[in-house]
């Protein structure tokens, strides 16, 4: 990856935000209304959802909901306990950002002129993004990366006339164990 830490993140407050945010990975039954139950619970108990993404898992009976919560709005423990009370919720893992691989997708349509077009293509290249659609005077760009990378990219896109930007909200998985197996088989090797 070629981009340097000198890139100024959007608003410069990502670190602050991260401190308040927690990622919950929630395994739910893949039934109609489950998302409504989760969203409803958050609003009823006065918790804030920062971002949320849902998709079926490898086992079609279940879906995984990745919720980034604003933990200043309520103690995280209370949120997870309340979530657990939903009958369709099977498992909740709290993913600590430092011990997680987190990814998010950004797509943006940007107006370009003949002068700015190549500059924009260069920017996308630096970030390892993609041009996914080309119009007469617009480009649609795409970048998958860490939320921080996306912030930086989004900030830089700000120099161009943005038609529309969309972000998916993040998905996250726990980082894998890197320690070599020792004499006794460690239980941390199991997916938990």
């Amino acid at each position: 990856m070629t981009f340097s830490s000198s890139v100024v993140p959007m608003g410069g407050n990502r670190a602050n935000l991260e401190a308040k945010h927690h990622v919950l990975s929630v395994l739910v039954e893949n039934k109609s209304g489950v998302l409504a139950r989760i969203a409803q619970l958050f609003s009823r108990r006065g918790y804030n959802i920062y971002s949320l993404s849902v998709a079926p898992t490898e086992d079609e009976r279940f879906s995984r909901v990745t919720i980034v919560v604003d933990v200043e709005s309520a103690p995280l423990e209370q949120i997870t306990k309340q979530l657990h009370k939903l009958i369709n919720v099977l498992k909740i893992s709290e993913i600590n950002a430092a011990q997680a691989v987190e990814y998010e997708l950004l797509m943006g349509s940007i107006s370009t002129s003949s002068e700015t077009r190549s500059e924009l293509i260069e920017l996308v290249r630096i970030f390892d993004g993609k041009i996914v659609d080309v119009g007469f005077d617009k480009l649609t760009v795409m970048l998958a990366g860490t939320p921080k990378m996306l912030d930086d990219f989004e900030a830089l896109l700000g120099a161009y006339p943005i038609v529309e930007i969309q972000r998916t909200g993040r998905v996250a998985l726990q980082k894998l164990d890197r320690s070599a197996p020792t004499r006794a088989r460690s239980k941390s090797g199991k997916a938990s």
């Binding site: 739910v28 039954e29 109609s32 209304g33 409504a36 139950r37 409803q40 619970l41 009823r44 103690p75 423990e77 209370q78 306990k81 309340q82 657990h84 009370k85 939903l86 009958i87 369709n88 919720v89 099977l90």
Partner: protein, 572 residues
Amino acid sequence: MQLTGAQALIKSLEMEQVEVIFGLPGGAILPVYDPLLDSTIRHILVRHEQGAGHAAEGYAHVTGRPGVAMVTSGPAATNIVTALADAYMDSIPLVVITGQVGTSLIGTDAFQEADTTGITMSVTKHNWLITDASQIPTVVREAFHVATTGRPGPVLIDLPKDVSNQTMEWYWPESVDLPGYKPTLKGHPKMIQEAAKLISKALRPVLYVGGGVLRAGATKELLALAEHCRIPVVTTLMARGAFPDENPLCLGMPGMHGNYTAVTSMQKSDLLITLGARFDDRVTGNVAGFAPYAKVIHVDIDPAELGKIRNPDVPIVGDLKLVIPELTREIKKLKVDIKTQLEPWIAELNTWREKYPLSYNQDPGGRPLKPQYVIERLRQMAPPDTIVVSGVGQHQMWASQFWKFNHPNTWVNSGGLGTMGFAVPAALGAKVGRPDKVVWAIDGDGCFQMTAQELVTATAERIPIKVAILNNAYLGMVRQWQEMFYDQRYSEVYLSPDLPDYVKWAEAMGCVGIRVDSADEVEVAIEKANSINDRPVVIDFRTDTWEKVFPMVPAGKTNDEIVIGPQEMEKK
């Protein structure tokens, strides 16, 4: 065997051993009312769907079994929302079945369509929209399981009309498969040992007992624990009767209108042993100043209650029926003479009890008639295991304060939601559940006017409940707050003592109506009411408008700022 969805529903309810349904039919639920005619299940036709819900609650309160209500779609479903919310707050097991418009019409704003599962999501433990008749037995089985296990609560099944008319191959599921629902029943042994240690060291412990003890059916276990250690007990509004008032260890009700000793015992306590209670704001007052010296043991079947309001030193998730005896065993193992250790504490509590009893002043001339006097006379003239059901307001607080509850599940009230209009339908449901017992509803004039029509149901179905209206001509509790906190500026709280004429109204509904204006008429009236067993009775007690509920911890204040009543002040 091929059945229609409607037949499958009724058969499923029979499989769940339902003996009574409170309900009212309409378009979307019509198919289900047909096979009901051939069922052994009794149906009680209420006059308003809210009544069906509260009646089912009353039934569940006194029997410990799930109450069942069935109503149609749209307005009927919305009418029952209050009862669902009430049951949700007080953890009452209910299974409510609502009709829904046909599946092809859902989402089209069809006639009498409401998004029932959406509307009731936040007031049910879970709800189901059935989309195929083959799901019916499974869903019914799951519904009863969810309603009655773990922390009990209301559930709702929404059944579209076309699904009722479909045919399905009958089956009955062997078991319930809910991978995301596994209540923890057994308390963590380490935590129970920790709790036992704290108890063995405490000098001013209090057993803070909530409605969870009744839901768990753990009253005997509680008695054994309290008696073994000689630890005093407070019973919250939801837990009245969970520990006998006549037991010298019982301090009575804590909270906003709790008695001085119960409230202050918690304030001075060094250990709250919290059993199935939830630190409700009506108990804690300003939570920052609540029980400031106390460590907390908190046992609850719902993990979300632990640490929700107050962080426990020892949290225990589990079924009280299992945890309490474990705790008692662990305490016994420690071989500490807790009894002797607590003697000074008990002595101190007893001095408060003597100094600050609950009291009131009935003028010997008979007028004005004091509501507390009425309640005491009702109690003295009733069998000891009488079921008392109340509405919400001053009369509710007096009933809780002045009745003596010595049996579990004999006090039925709306604690968490505070639903005016609860008493009459809930009393009806309670009497259906326990026809062998005397059921007195102690109601306010305001509350009575909200759901009195269920007395028509009671007469028609021969459910002889007794209703004592403490008619103070006001929305009394609100009036009290306006008197104390709004400079006696009375805004929209006057109701009138004789509009409506409660006696005539009672008679119009097929009940016996009696009016009482003075203390010396009380006994005769109650005697007459007690002698009637073939129809409901309503006594209109014209009580003192100006009587206030004391003690009182003003809202937002800490429990140390408890205001005692004028009679106690005089003695001070």
